[in-house]
């Protein structure tokens, strides 16, 4: 018993360490920048316009992504067909693309000279343009729809098969199933998912600028970038970052407040057999087809362009790939450690509600911290101690891990909470606690989630340009940085080949991790 208590203490200590690390990297870096700056600063009317626009585009994008994602996940859940799991994995790919590649991919489909216009053109349609608010929304949906549907698919899978069997024997209608079985699950998952997507849409600026068609589509992140780069006004940058922080914090709090944990439902881990698929078949297939075409076509153009230039792949690109993979490995290890440390504390029955909120909230709103702020803050902080350029890759791995945390938390935490709800009281009563409980009870049931999360973290890390640009030394070029360098040296074709390599790598890792997670799962 004494040993158990000690182990509970250790798990909770790990949770607190992770929390402190997170706070240091977010609020800490901001404080460092504030202390480093001297000027006074007030938000101008232009800044408020920027803030309004940022929220507006993020709101619309998140709403559409969430709704579409819900329908897509539902259709995918109901229909079973050959190659379904492959399709689901492919549909996840847009989320992990580096922005510049994704933008070029989207434009090759929706642009003035794109596929869509060359198909519609001969039929006398006017040239469609992607540049504008709708372009931003299309791009954000392209990025986030895969995330939403993947996260919701996970949600659907946690609904015990027994419920559907019961529903079948009770002759439930579609409406009954939706309201009584699916809505409770959605209610507990949707707010968190919406928030994550909303926060992602807030913090991107290249998409908004390029596809929004100009400076009217300025987001807060671009304003921060401007303050850093154009004006070198650290104070303004930090203040804008704080503003973004507070906004996101408010949103996170509202979401967590509205969110409920799932109800007590023990399941026997049986596969779900849906009897109700035939009636809605057509609708499901229409949804699946439209979403697939929307998500896959830009990928196909990237792959086709890259494959044509594949002979341009050289040692430099492959070395960069290797570096990206080692950074990603580091990021996966750090991120999983933090996620699980936080998760153990959040899911525990012994933790106070306030602490749960604090940990979960911090875990989510790191997405709203500007990587530029984290990077610069770290730089100012580390520079007097050690030369950050010499530790570019470990620093990049750390920051990438932090940036991926909201996603891995979103994937792993609900499952941990559910395991605790379902088995927590039982294990408490038999004294199964601490590490034993984690390794014997929790971990085996988390394999699926850990596999998916690892793949996602690794892929995100490989695709992310990240802070490496701030500290870059010639030898430190990761693959996305190499793509930028190639493009900056007129090597557009080689850049496409590198993007192709990047896409394939992200994708393979994602697939591999997903498979590993599934193959070991003894509970199916």
């Amino acid at each position: 018993m004494v040993r158990n208590i000690k182990q509970i203490k250790i798990t909770s200590l790990l949770g607190w360490i992770s929390l402190i690390l997170l706070i240091l990297l977010t609020l800490g870096t901001l404080t460092v920048i504030l202390f480093h700056s001297h000027s006074d600063f007030e938000l101008t009317p232009t800044d408020f316009k920027v803030i309004k626009f940022t929220l507006y585009q993020a709101g619309i994008s998140a709403l559409i992504s969430s709704i579409l994602g819900m329908f897509l996940a539902r259709s995918l859940m109901r229909q079973s067909f050959v190659g379904k799991s492959v399709l689901i994995t492919i549909l996840g790919a847009p989320f992990i693309l580096p922005t510049v590649v994704a933008i070029l991919g989207l434009i090759s489909v929706f642009g003035r000279n794109g596929l869509l216009n060359s198909i519609l053109g001969p039929f006398g349609f006017k040239t469609l343009t992607i540049y504008g608010l709708h372009g931003i929304v299309i791009a954000n949906v392209f990025f986030n729809l895969p995330l939403v549907s993947r996260l919701l698919l996970q949600g659907w899978k946690t609904i015990p098969a027994e419920q559907f069997r019961l529903a079948e024997s009770l002759c439930f209608t579609h409406k009954n199933i939706f309201l009584l079985i699916e809505v409770p699950m959605l209610k507990s998952r949707m707010p968190g998912i919406f928030a994550v997507v909303f926060l992602i849409c807030i913090s991107s600026f290249a998409i908004a600028l390029t596809l929004g068609g100009g400076p009217k589509s300025t987001t807060i992140e671009l304003a921060i970038y401007q303050a850093f780069r154009f004006d070198f006004d650290l104070n303004k940058a930090a203040n804008l970052a704080i503003f973004q922080f507070i906004l996101c914090l408010a949103i996170t709090v509202i979401v967590l407040w509205k969110q409920q944990t799932e109800l007590f439902q023990v399941k026997f881990d049986r596969p779900i057999n849906r009897w109700d698929v035939d009636e809605k078949k057509l609708l499901d297939w229409i949804i699946i087809c439209i979403c697939s075409v929307f998500l896959i076509t830009p990928l196909v153009t990237i792959i086709a362009d890259g494959a044509l230039a594949i002979h341009l792949v050289n040692k430099g690109i492959l070395v960069a790939l290797l570096k990206s993979i080692s950074v990603a490995t580091g990021a996966v290890i750090i991120c999983l450690f933090i996620t699980i440390s936080l998760g153990n504390v959040i899911a525990s029955n012994h933790t106070r509600l306030g602490v749960k909120w604090l940990m979960e909230g911090t875990g989510y709103f790191v997405i709203a911290t500007s990587p530029l702020v984290i990077g610069t803050g770290l730089f100012i902080f580390l520079y007097p101690i050690l030369n950050p350029t010499k530790f570019v890759l470990p620093i990049t791995a750390l920051v990438n891990a932090i940036m991926a945390l909201p996603f891995s938390l979103r994937i792993i935490l609900p499952a941990m909470q559910k395991i605790n709800k379902d088995y927590g009281k039982l294990s408490d009563s038999i004294g199964l606690n601490g590490f034993h409980r984690f390794f014997k009870l929790t971990l085996p049931r988390l394999r699926n989630e850990i596999g998916f999360a690892s793949g996602l973290i690794a892929a995100l890390s490989i695709g992310d340009l990240g802070v490496v640009t701030l500290f870059s030394a010639p030898q430190s070029g990761t693959l996305p940085l190499t793509i930028y360098r190639l493009m900056g040296s007129y090597q557009m074709e080689a850049a496409k080949a590198a993007a192709f390599i990047l896409l394939i790598t992200c994708f393979s890792i994602f697939l591999l991790a997903d498979k590993l997670g599934k193959s070991n799962a003894s509970y199916k």
């Binding site: 540049y131 390029t210 596809l211 780069r229 580091g330 890759l393």
Partner: protein
């Protein structure tokens, strides 16, 4: 396994550490300079042949990020030389007090006379709109004509995040002064989109999204020399073309003062300068005579060169930006 990986990560990140600190010259520069297609590798090799030192070229984003990086590091900076600022940044760079005078008499071949006592140019170019002559048969001859041509879409870069973007702002201002806002109003419908950096814009142009892209008069030279493609041309404007002059300066606190001077001297030598055109795709600052490929003959005559001196550039910058933002945000 984890231990192996950490070792690997550590190894990969510390490969730059394996030098002694004596005779190491650290030059901060922008990222594309050090890429394997850029001038960096060749320059490092040829300087190290003569200097008996280790030249370390360290990348720090693009031009504006480069200065921000040096400002962040402040007096403790490890840089001995900063290479890659342009004349729109030199006034701000001088204000930091981090740079020292070069004390050299320069014999340069620039369209304008060079009087800066701190920074030395290493290459230069004219901003211009580049087009595909197979698609655009008659290129516009000035901004007014461009604005009237509803068939021509242009991609430009955001002045807040990109050096060419800022260059265009200065170009219009230098050519039209107080009338600049009218020109921008006219151009607004032609602007397909504004990108974060040059790469995205040029990528869009190459994919056929826009008829013209803001780039340099030297861009066609790349296509001619590297790809044997004669179709890309720079539209020559009657108003003249704004210049970008890229410069380097010695850091005040350097502990390698002699080596830094040697490097700056090398920078304007034949060796360095003959590497520049076909790697950085800009004009050399000295007369290379027959060593310069014909594709690099300037299409703009000297008296059509536009440029603000560093202080004026600094003064106009903010008002030009707010004017631009206001017009294009509508």
């Amino acid at each position: 396994m984890i231990k192996n990986l950490t070792t690997l990560i550590f190894f990969l990140s510390t490969t730059t550490l394996c030098f002694g600190d004596n005779n190491v010259l650290k030059v901060y520069t922008y990222d594309s300079f050090i890429s394997e297609w850029g001038p960096g590798p060749a320059i490092e090799k040829s300087f190290e042949e003569t200097c008996q030192c280790d030249l370390q070229l360290i990348g720090a984003g693009d031009g504006a990020a480069l200065l921000a990086r040096v400002q962040l590091e402040g007096k403790q900076t490890e840089a001995d030389v900063v290479l890659g600022l342009d004349t729109n940044l030199t006034a701000r760079a001088k204000e930091t007090g981090l740079f020292t005078k070069h004390n050299k008499i320069l014999n340069l071949n620039l369209p304008i006379s060079w009087n800066d006592d701190t920074f030395i140019p290493f290459d230069w170019g004219y901003f211009s709109f580049v087009y595909n002559s197979e698609k655009v048969t008659s290129a516009p001859k000035n901004f007014i004509e461009l604005a009237k041509r509803s068939d021509l879409k242009i991609v430009i870069q955001d002045p807040r995040s990109s050096t060419p973007g800022l260059g265009l702002l200065m170009w219009v201002k230098a050519a039209y002064g107080d009338e600049a806002s009218k020109v921008w109003k006219g151009l607004a419908p032609n602007i397909l989109t504004v990108t974060r950096g040059w790469s995205e814009a040029y990528g869009l142009f190459m994919d056929g999204e826009a008829e013209l892209v803001l780039s340099y008069t030297t861009s066609p030279a790349y296509h001619i020399i590297a790809e044997n493609d004669l179709s890309k041309k720079a539209a020559i404007f009657e108003e003249g073309h704004y210049m970008q002059i890229e410069v380097a300066g010695k850091v005040l606190g350097t502990d390698q003062s002699d080596l830094a001077d040697e490097f700056l001297e090398f920078m304007i030598s034949d060796t360095f300068q003959s590497i520049i055109p076909t790697t950085n795709w800009m004009y050399p600052v000295i007369d290379l005579k027959s060593n310069l490929d014909k594709a690099f003959l300037s299409p703009v005559s000297k008296n059509k060169s536009l440029i603000f001196d560093a202080n004026t550039a600094q003064e106009v910058r903010d008002s030009a930006l707010s004017e631009w933002l206001e017009i294009l945000s509508k």
